[in-house]
């Protein structure tokens, strides 16, 4: 984000009006407040990691220590013992990857259509794609459940993949469109003047410029599919559960074994948070591009 890229841009001392010492003092006050925000916002994540790595008996200490009390991997071993972990993770991986591949391939075509062509009905398509993103997914559980039941896709990964496309596809189209409209059309035209075909211009000029945006969109879509819970819970039986449902069931069945539960949470969250850290800047910029000038 620009906020990160231009540190201190808006906080030049002369804006405070009086001498530098007063400015420094007020800056220290803001920094203190900022640190408070940092600690509060980060605490749940810290506490998850802290509990996951501390000996299980320290986790149920009535007077818990805020600092790490030891470093052990026992909780992770216990979490892996309680229920099959890698099966659900494998299923989540298959579903998320399939959804992303289909979603980005199909979504890219649609995004090109609405960003690079003028045709009748374009506006209706754009409104439609925006609108379907607003349908609360929870409301759709019942008919989707019945649909998959009719198609004999209940409790099948393919059924879950189709279902996830409902929310991945509109999102992908909209985001990719945002990236495409930021690529100046003149570049394409220049290539075509120089003798490229339209497809050639796309492959040689637009595609390389679009690639980072596509990667970011894919990773973001992957995260969304990976994190989905309700449909995975509804549409898959216990033996075919995905990773999120694995963790959700962990909660219900072993509610008191918090330390292994936090170890399970850590295993679920860390790869996702890392992926998220990588793509977040690009996505946020894409989402809000041009918003202020509305």
């Amino acid at each position: 984000m620009s906020a990160v890229a231009t540190p201190g841009r808006t906080s030049s001392p002369q804006r405070e009006g009086s001498g530098p010492s007063k400015a420094r003092k007020s800056k220290a006050g803001w920094n203190l407040l900022g640190l408070l925000v940092f600690v509060t916002a980060g605490f749940p994540v810290y506490w998850m990691l802290n509990t996951a790595f501390k000996p299980a008996k320290d986790a149920i200490d009535p007077d818990p220590s805020l600092l790490p009390t030891g470093l052990t991997l026992d909780n992770f071993r216990r979490a892996l013992d309680i229920a099959d972990f890698w099966g659900p993770v494998g299923r989540s991986l298959i579903v998320s990857l399939a959804v992303v591949v289909i979603g980005v391939a199909v979504g890219l075509l649609a995004a090109l259509a609405i960003s690079r062509f003028a045709f009748r009905g374009r506006k209706i398509v754009i409104v439609g794609i925006l609108a379907v993103q607003m349908v609360p997914l929870v409301a759709m559980i019942i008919p989707v459940f019945l649909l998959l039941n009719d198609l004999d896709q209940y409790d099948k990964l393919s059924g879950l993949i189709i279902t996830y496309l409902t929310f991945i596809l509109p999102f992908t189209v909209w985001t990719l469109r945002g990236f495409i409209v930021n690529i100046p059309r003149e570049l394409e035209e220049a290539a075509m003047v120089d003798g490229c075909s339209r497809t050639g211009a796309f492959v040689r000029v637009v595609f390389p410029l679009l690639a980072p945006g596509m990667v970011a969109t894919s990773v973001y879509g992957f995260i969304q599919a990976w994190n989905e819970y309700i449909y995975a819970l509804m549409l898959m039986s216990q033996k075919n559960q995905t990773a999120t449902v694995w963790l959700g069931n962990f909660t219900t069945k072993h509610g008191t074994e918090y330390a292994p539960m936090m170890a399970g949470s850590t295993m679920m969250a860390v790869p996702i948070v890392v992926l998220f850290l990588i793509v977040q800047r690009k996505m946020a910029a894409g989402l809000t591009a041009g918003a202020v000038k509305g």
Partner: protein, 328 residues
């Protein structure tokens, strides 16, 4: 990404606006040899998938809510018969439904207001702190934003555990407070307050980061001028910053309303898969009717009512997004 990137669309010469719908064939410089068919061919796979997985269920949701549809219809023992508005009159005549509606509204309104106010305060704070503090806050925000909802819910369950939760332990450190063993989920309002905190914690990062991006586009000169004219910090914020940020604020608020009205896994997992009556929100209530009571028709009717309740908010959001879309 910086302000420079976000201004790119403005630099692009704007001949690419959609032709006004009334004009059948707007003369366009770049019409491909494929003609009108090509864009539709590109769109076809996307539209087909959406029609199957979204269009059909949406229609089915409507028809279902006008039918009698229970266990025996699900297994095909009995055909689903139309019952007119029976499901709706049953739902609307139920006092419990209205209690759930009120609870959902209070919960969503509280979450949205809390999210927007806290988000705005942190975004403004980010402008005033040193670079390293800003980096720290950003790391914490992005980490909490990226946490899968299920993981976040599990962690909050642990934080607020009655016997060993750190929250009760910390509260008890205060003089004269003994909260050890206090069960936050014994009562609906307290439990939902914890869930609201969880929702807000997860939602604030997106708001802060979007607002921060917006704040960098507020022209310094305007704030300067207002200050020279004697406006205080609040005046500058109220009459300069906020009006410029309005499109973003509207977009974020409507999105938050839509998201917070749809809160489901947080309540569901927090209550171990069986939310008690006083924890039911519209989403869990609809689920409960359908899959616990096995009355799919009534569940659909509730879901449809929820969608209708949201339509107004969605309309505002769409207008805002279309305005933005027209810039390009």
């Amino acid at each position: 990404m910086s302000a420079a990137d976000t201004t790119t669309p403005a630099k692009v010469p704007p001949p690419r606006q959609a032709p006004p719908p009334a004009v059948p064939k707007a003369p366009r410089a770049r019409r491909s040899p494929g003609g009108v068919a090509l864009p539709w061919m590109l769109l076809a796979p996307c539209l087909l998938i959406l029609a199957l997985v979204l269009g059909y269920p949406l229609v089915r949701l409507v028809t279902l809510s006008f039918q009698k549809f229970g266990q025996s219809q699900l297994w095909g023992f009995q055909p689903a018969e139309s019952v007119g508005f029976d499901n709706f009159s049953k739902v609307l005549g139920d006092g419990e439904f209205w209690a759930v509606v009120v609870r959902t509204f209070v919960f969503a309104a509280g979450s949205v207001i809390f999210t927007m106010v806290v988000g705005m305060l942190i975004a403004l704070l980010l402008q005033r702190v040193s670079g390293w503090v800003k980096t720290l806050i950003n790391i914490a925000l992005v980490a909490s934003w990226g946490m899968p909802i299920i993981v976040a819910t599990t962690v909050f369950k642990w934080l607020f555990d009655s016997d060993y939760g750190i929250f009760n332990a910390l509260l008890s450190k205060l003089p004269g407070v003994d909260m050890i063993g206090h069960n936050w989920f014994a009562s609906g309002p307290q439990g939902l307050a914890v869930i609201m905190l969880l929702v807000v914690w997860g939602a604030v990062p997106f708001v802060v980061i979007t607002l921060s991006a917006g704040l960098t586009q507020v022209p310094q000169e305007l704030e300067e001028a207002a200050r020279l004219d004697g406006a205080g910090s609040w005046g500058v914020f109220r009459y300069v910053t906020l009006p410029i940020l309005k499109p973003i604020v509207v977009m974020l608020t409507t999105l938050s309303v839509i998201w917070d009205m749809g809160v489901f896994p947080q309540v569901f997992v927090m209550r171990g898969g069986h939310p008690e009556a006083e924890f039911q929100l519209l989403t869990t209530y609809s689920y409960d009717r359908a899959f616990v009571v096995n009355d799919y028709a009534q569940g659909s009717a509730i879901a449809l009512l929820t969608v209708l309740l949201l339509l107004g908010v969605v309309a505002v959001y769409m207008r805002q997004m279309l305005k933005i879309g027209e810039v390009e």
